[in-house]
């Protein structure tokens, strides 16, 4: 216990300030949010306010995208302070965050997870693979990118996207 207290005091607050206004950094993500249409955005604002519960599904990623999503939740980036939470069940989720190209084996699981979510629901594609299959485009075992299977409203580009990109894209989506 003393160890914990000592380190807690010595370390202080590590969480980094994130300038929400800097749309410059958001780049492409910002554009795709705009493309999502004002109708959708007003719906999001009305239904979710400033909170978003996300269920993550890996449909064939290499693992680095997951690692960065986890990093976005660490004390330094602290995604939770913006009202974004990762939940354990699709039944609790507002949005589905998908990583990786969709492998044939994951098609059923992906669709079932989506069906299990209550309305209104959104799909977000995270990483270049989810976006356009990345290096796995011509594989015999890939059914396509996420947008070929489910309606995607937000793309977070990168291989893998870094935590800051993930956070800024999600916040821009909520605003």
């Amino acid at each position: 216990m003393l160890q914990i207290l000592k380190n807690r005091i010595l370390k202080g607050i590590l969480t980094r300030r994130i300038e929400l206004e800097s749309s410059r950094v958001i780049g492409d993500a910002d554009l795709s949010v705009r493309r999502a249409g004002s109708e959708l955005r007003s719906l999001i604002r009305k239904k979710f306010g400033r909170s978003l519960h996300i269920r993550q599904v890996d449909t064939g990623s290499c693992g680095a995208c997951e690692s960065e999503i986890i990093s976005a939740n660490n004390p330094i980036y602290d995604l939770q302070r913006f009202g974004v939470n990762f939940v354990a069940s699709p039944r609790h989720a507002d949005a589905l965050l998908v990583t990786g190209p969709v492998s044939k084996n994951m098609l059923i699981a992906l669709n079932k997870t989506y069906e299990a979510m209550p309305e209104p629901k959104f799909v977000i594609a995270c990483g270049d693979c989810a976006l356009g299959c990345g290096p796995f485009k011509d594989s015999y075992y890939v059914c396509g990118a996420v947008k070929d299977i489910l309606p995607v409203v937000l793309h977070i580009p990168g291989c893998p996207p870094n935590p800051l990109q993930i956070i800024l894209s999600l916040i821009a989506f909520l605003k």
Binding site: I4, S61, G63, S67, I76, F86, N105, Y141
Partner: protein
Amino acid sequence: MVCSEIIAGIKNIFGTFEALSVTQAYTDEIHIKVSPGLFKDTCLALHKMLSSSVYMLFASDERRARGIFTINCVFGNLKQGQWIIISIDIPQDEAYFDSLAKTIYSASLFEREIWEMFGIQPKGSPDLRRLRLHNEVWPKGNYPLRKDFQKLQAGDLGDYEFDRVEGDGVFEVPVGPVHAGIIGPGHFRFSVAGEPIINLETRLGFTHRGVEKLFEGQSCIEAIRLAECVSGDASFAHSLAFTQAAEKISGIFIPKQAVYLRAIFLELERMYNHVNDIGGMAVDVGFSFPSAYASVIKEALLKLNDLLTASRYLKKVNTVGGVLKSLDENKKQILLDSLKRIENDFNELVKILYSSVSFMDRIDTTGALRRKTAEGLGVVGLIARASGIPADLREYFSTIYKEARFKIATEESGDVLARLKLRIAEFKESIRLIEVFVGKLADDKEINVNPEFKEGRALGYVEGWRGPVLYWMEIDTAGLIQRCKVVDPSFLNWQGLSYAVLGNIIPDFPLCNKSFDLSYSGGDL
């Protein structure tokens, strides 16, 4: 050992042995070709003689050029820094070979793989269920790694048969493929009698993306980027094993500077993953402060990677002939200073964990994998070392690690605590090694530009943070990849997990799982 000693050794075990050819292909590789009838006995003899499990067993389709398939089995003669590869040619219309699985268990997953990917039957195999091409979505009779596979032909679909555990009060608990956390997909089927797990069957393959087929026809330079995406948290180890194989085939010289830089990056990758796992173990017992603390250290390491190479996961750093990123004086200083700070934080983290009695109590004796089981299954890398098997390719194959007086770390008990201790020891050793390697960096070029590619085949291998990452490569006259067989340590180690959890309760499964921390995508390819 030279070729003649190996042959004499095999003859000692079964007298009438006659090889078709024996060649010392490279200083660290001996290729022995035998007739199909002798395959099983030769493998058994080597298995016994070298006390080596099967590191790789794979097929290759050479029907176009020679009308045959080949089967190759790789054993490690670690003490002498050598790989021994037994191969046979089998005619295309008699596509079968003698199964090894009943006597050498570590061959069994590989045989299932050969059967589903090539349609070559391991005769006498006790289990031919598919690993990756799930019966529910992939019709029978389609073998994607055959060269003439073009489009999926319609055929019968089926179901997967799980092993059934029956008896009074036995429950089955299926979990996955979609799990509660932010994690890859896999299906775990527990059979429990009361609280303890009496059987765990893992069904994987959910992230199968056909990586091996995608390699075929690519040039080596292009294909490095694909190798980096096989398992994202070990991207440097994968790219390194890949480039090593390519360099060996073409006889490309690597500047000393690049050798040290590669070792530095490899150790950096080991560090961020080890600290991540230590934090993960704390999460899985609900001990949140150290897990947050560990994630801060991990972030510091990822940022350091970014600063040194412009990539948090060390992608686009490695290439054939050397590395693309060099460390100038300024960066060297940053690296050494950061390591000092990271080491201090890490020592604090260890103190916090060790001073918590409830944490230690929870991980001690949990998820134990005994040495005998580990040897039988052929598990490799960190998991093997935690169970007392002194196997680390850095110790046996690398001269620069020898120069740096690398000390292999092992533990005896094989439980979660052993795996924690091992990670702590390896983390500290990595810091020391990096400091030594940085001291050796000279003002030399770090890359041999415009390498020329030759035809040939070779094995690339690296001790990544999980264990040995192996790449078997065949390159044709045009410099294009004909076959690339990848073995990530996760592939063999998943079975270790199934045994480690026996007798434990399901709530301890996440803890055991995290202490193994295997890659879904690396195993599924």
